[in-house]
């Protein structure tokens, strides 16, 4: 072995696993708590309760986010896109991507990606026996790990359109980690007609009490700090994609179900959601 090689490995050993610290609140378990699940520990609930205290509408937002996800998946299947790459999928509870997608189209293929080892272990248990869905333990910030994982290669055909789900994920990625670059790297592998599904928290609209400072403060102490971005910055994540109607809008306004009354709760305006279609003719 060359010295250089050894040195590089000493710097960042590829085999060193991420440790698990169950005393640190996990954003995916907090999310589960907001949605009424019990896949969480006291430390997660404690953090979630503080977040709700700072921003009482959070569970509603999460529910609206989940509802958006469902509508977006239905939209994707309606567009003939039945392959899903869901990054930052978290703890699978109910109404998860593979449930919705496989209900809408039984042949849908779903690859979940998460970097939380507990979420990954749980997903693995939940998905056991489902040969059309799998979980990859990887980080959004290392797209190659996702694209070249065995699960991705087995389940997704990149010659055909894929729906890339970055739901409630990008607001946990700091600018220094270059989320735009990671999206571009993944998007590069996607066939024309592929969809990019994004929801992202923002302090642009909604209650202006503290611009989200309180909830940001809570998340600063979790495994992933929360980054609110203005609408324009969120729109830039769709570089290379064409936003479908109605564009980048607040969560409840994205293609609402026909029989629902317009969302009145201002807390639901605290984030943006949109779906983009990759340019070029659909494969």
């Amino acid at each position: 072995m060359e010295l250089n090689e050894l040195e590089t490995q000493m710097e960042r050993p590829a085999w060193a696993p991420q440790g698990i610290d169950l005393t640190v609140p996990s954003v995916s378990r907090m999310y589960d708590y907001y949605l009424g699940g019990s896949h969480n520990f006291e430390v997660d609930r404690e953090a979630a309760r503080r977040a709700i205290q700072a921003w009482p509408g959070l569970p509603k937002i999460m529910q609206a986010n989940r509802a958006f996800t469902r509508r977006a998946i239905d939209f994707a299947v309606g567009e003939g896109v039945t392959q899903f790459l869901d990054i930052g999928s978290g703890i699978p509870t109910f109404g998860n991507t593979h449930e919705v997608a496989q209900k809408a189209h039984s042949g849908s293929h779903v690859v979940y990606v998460d970097n939380d080892p507990v979420a990954v272990a749980h997903s693995r248990a939940v998905l056991e026996g489902n040969d059309q869905a799998a979980i990859v333990s990887a980080d959004f910030r290392s797209p190659q790990d996702i694209l070249y994982s065995a699960e991705t290669e087995r389940l997704l055909d990149f010659g055909k359109p894929v729906a890339l789900m970055l739901v409630a994920l990008l607001h946990f990625i700091e600018d220094k980690d270059e989320p735009g670059k990671a999206i571009a790297e993944i998007a590069d592998s996607l066939a024309p007609g592929s969809l990019l599904v994004v929801s992202h928290s923002s302090a642009d609209e909604g209650p202006k009490t503290d611009g989200g400072a309180g909830v940001r403060d809570v998340y600063r102490r979790t495994s992933s700090p929360l980054i609110m971005r203005p609408k324009e910055e969120i729109r830039q994540f769709f570089d290379g994609f064409e936003l479908v109607e109605p564009g980048l809008v607040t969560l409840p306004r994205w293609r609402p179900d026909p029989d629902t009354e317009p969302a009145s709760d201002p807390v639901l305006l605290s984030g943006y959601a949109g779906v983009g279609r990759k340019a070029g003719s659909a494969g």
Partner: protein, 734 residues
């Protein structure tokens, strides 16, 4: 829930549909379901049916209420807040909408009581399901956490095992020391390199690893690393071994920090390069030393000179003796290379004896060239003294194979302050100066001087440029009229070559003809000159034939006479051209190409070029003369003029050197010169030769030379050399 199973049940269905709608509207806001409200309504409808059936069942049982409670939890109505909404709707509307119109004998009181019991059952079922679900989820989560943790532990263990394997089996030496330098762990490879056991290694401290040959900044970088100001460094470093030998390594030291970024360990990676280094040193020695004499060779000499001359060195002056053995080729040729080699070895030894202990570098530059390089001489006298010593050391004959060989050498000395001249400039200067010493007879030294260098460099640069100059038409001709003294008319012109040098501008023939003669380029250049000149003569002739020449008008009938015979061009012929085998065919070809008679060309040959020429060598000239080409003996009177020889030369004209005419410039003229010129004219005429005088500058001179019987004249008095276009054909002096 795409098809409604109760579609055909009429009113009952209609009532329960409405109930389900009210129910879903009340419950939906308190659920976390991902269903739409309409979907929730569809989900609740069968539960409503179940409740209704239970309400009217006989005998009554509240058990279905439990099932409904459990189904609600399964439908994700899991929030405790949902329960009041669930029960509130059942309480208010089940009896109303859940009435069976055909069998409505159930008394209202009984219905309400049953409804209450159903609510209790729903609450119980809901709670039980919620508790089961919570426990199940908690258990699933714990199992996941456990699985994740054991996966991490397994990976850590695998990683640790792998790392131990790398550490243990690596051929690279690895040691990990704390920040005080105490070695905490060392692998087998490093122990082997140091020829110690691993345990011994672990008792050492890296701060003991000082070696006298350490690079100057090793320990400074190490201190920076220990202070956390540097994360790694890499050096070539020697170490002492217990057996007294030296271990040479490529050493990389990296700082390992803890999670808070504080320096914790220093990791050293060592690669044993002892063997490689020895090999390198040996190869380096071989690459920098001369095999024959063992002296440093040109490579090492050049490196040293580079260092000495660089402005950054702390050396103030340098001195260089550049030595070349005189006549070494003759030794090789006559006595053989083996003797030549021994001679070189002996010379090398003597040179070394002169510089022993002085710190001067003696090198063999190549062949029979040597150099001595002095560091910081006090001045030129130091270096000349060395040169003297060298010459003295070589003066004693060298004995080889019982033969005494005396060695002579020429030395060029360059001495000066460092930081001004570049190495190649110094070497060039030394070379030029050495050749000056050789030209001055050899067995001596010369000190470099800028003027001589400049001249030599100039000569050199002109010489190397000559071939390109001919190719790129940088040469051009000027013409100086030759005046017939009897009537003052132009008889011809001497073609004079010039060089329009792109840098130095216009150069006269004295600057480059000797160089061209030396390199042989004179042959093509001479041919080019002849071609141009003859072509020009032809042009003049044609111009005159057209009758448009202003000379004709001016000169009346004489002009007519001139028109019959073309103007002659004189072209200089160098010794080298003279001996070139193609001279005759080339000349004929040039004349034929232009369609000019041979008599329109006069070749000027210096007297000295013909001295000692035998008949064979004169043959080409004679052939040309027989064809009708005029032959002029140029610069006559400057060489050793063998008057007897004059007779057998194929010359037709004598060109008296300008030195004779200079004496006639004075007034009164130098009587010796007068006598001399008169004598030559008489002699020439007696031999049937015409006389041309050069350098005529005054009217008085011209008159006097005419009186003395000179036939043609050339000089500033008549015209300076000029381009063909300004050449005045009908030039006349009265």
């Amino acid at each position: 829930m795409t098809a409604d199973p109760h579609e055909s049940e009429g009113l009952e269905n209609d009532g329960l549909r409405r109930f389900a709608t009210i129910w879903s509207r009340a419950v939906y806001p308190a659920t976390q379901t991902s269903m739409t409200r309409a979907e929730l309504g569809d989900y609740l409808h069968p539960l409503a049916v179940k409740l209704c059936d239970a309400l009217h069942a006989y005998p009554f049982s509240a058990a279905p209420g439990r099932e409904v409670g459990a189904a609600l939890v399964a439908g994700h109505c899991t929030s405790p807040d949902a329960l009041p909404h669930i029960l509130g709707v059942v309480d208010s509307y089940l009896v109303l909408y859940g009435r069976d119109p055909e069998t409505s004998e159930l008394p209202v009181d009984e219905a309400r009581a049953r409804c209450s019991r159903l609510q209790h059952a729903i609450a119980a079922g809901f709670t039980e399901a919620l508790r089961d679900r919570t426990l199940a989820e908690q258990e699933a989560l714990s199992r996941a956490a456990l699985a994740a943790q054991s996966a991490v532990e397994e990976a850590l263990h695998a990683s640790e095992t792998r790392f131990r394997a790398v550490f243990k089996d690596a051929t690279i030496g690895i040691s990990i020391a704390d920040m005080d330098g105490r070695i905490r762990d060392a692998n087998g490879a490093i122990a082997k390199m140091f020829k110690r056991s691993e345990e011994e290694m672990r008792r050492r401290n890296v701060n003991e690893w000082v070696h006298p040959d350490d690079a100057p900044d090793v320990w400074r970088m190490h201190r920076q690393l220990v202070r956390g100001e540097r994360d790694h460094f890499r050096v070539e470093k020697p170490f002492h071994r217990p057996d007294g030998t030296v271990l040479w390594t490529n050493l990389t030291v990296s700082l390992l920090r803890d999670a808070d970024g504080e320096p914790r360990y220093q990791l050293a990676l060592l690669e044993d390069i002892t063997e490689r280094r020895l090999l390198h040193l040996r190869l380096r020695y071989e690459a920098t030393h001369d095999e024959l004499t063992g002296l440093p060779n040109r490579t090492l000499f050049a490196e040293r000179l580079d260092r000495l001359l660089s402005a950054s060195s702390d050396v103030k002056r340098f001195g260089l003796c550049y030595l070349d053995i005189d006549g070494f080729k003759a030794v090789n040729d006559s006595l053989g290379h083996a003797v030549g080699d021994q001679l070189l070895i002996a010379v090398a030894e003597r040179l070394q004896s002169c510089t022993a202990g002085s710190g001067h570098l003696v090198a063999r530059i190549g062949g029979d060239e040597f150099a001595a390089l002095c560091t910081d001489p006090s001045g030129p006298e130091d270096v000349t003294e060395l040169a003297r010593q060298v010459l003295a050391a070589l003066a004693t004959p060298i004995r080889i194979d019982g033969r005494e060989l005396s060695v002579r050498a020429s030395i060029g000395i360059v001495e000066g302050p460092s930081g001004e001249l570049r190495p190649e400039e110094v070497m060039r200067s030394a070379d030029i100066t050495m050749y000056r010493a050789k030209d001055a007879g050899g067995s001596r030294y010369e000190l470099a001087d800028p003027d001589s260098d400049a001249r030599a460099i100039d000569r050199h640069s002109l010489t190397t440029r000559l071939p390109a100059a001919l190719e790129w038409d940088e040469f051009f001709l000027e013409y100086q009229p030759l005046i017939r003294m009897s009537d003052g008319h132009v008889e011809g012109a001497e073609a004079l070559v010039r060089w329009k040098h792109p840098v130095h501008g216009r150069l006269g023939p004295d600057r480059f003809i000797p160089l061209a003669e030396h390199t042989g380029l004179i042959v093509p250049l001479g041919r080019w000159v002849m071609e141009q000149a003859v072509r020009q003569a032809c042009a003049w002739h044609e111009e005159r034939g057209k009758g448009g020449g202003n000379g004709k008008k001016k000169n009346g009938k004489n002009g007519d006479a001139l028109a019959e015979r073309p103007l002659r061009v004189n072209v200089n012929l160098s010794p080298r051209q003279l001996h070139h085998p193609d001279l005759v065919p080339d000349t004929i070809a040039v004349l034929e190409a232009a369609g000019m008679p041979p008599s329109s060309l006069c070749l000027e040959v210096t007297e000295s070029a013909l001295i000692g020429a035998d008949e064979d060598e004169l043959k080409p000239l004679r052939q040309l003369a027989e064809l009708g080409v005029e032959i002029a003996l140029d610069d006559f009177g400057t060489g050793y003029s063998n008057l007897a020889n004059l007779r057998r030369l194929p010359a037709t004209t004598l060109k008296l050197d300008r030195s004779f005419t200079q004496g006639l410039q004075q007034h009164p003229a130098d009587p010796v010169d007068v006598t001399f010129v008169e004598g030559i004219v008489t002699l020439a005429h007696a031999l049937g030769l015409a006389v041309t005088v050069e350098g005529v500058e005054t009217e008085h001179q011209a008159a006097q030379l005419r009186d003395m019987g000179c036939d043609t004249a050339q000089g500033w008095y008549y015209a300076r050399p000029g381009p063909a276009s300004t050449f005045v054909q009908g030039f006349a002096v009265t």
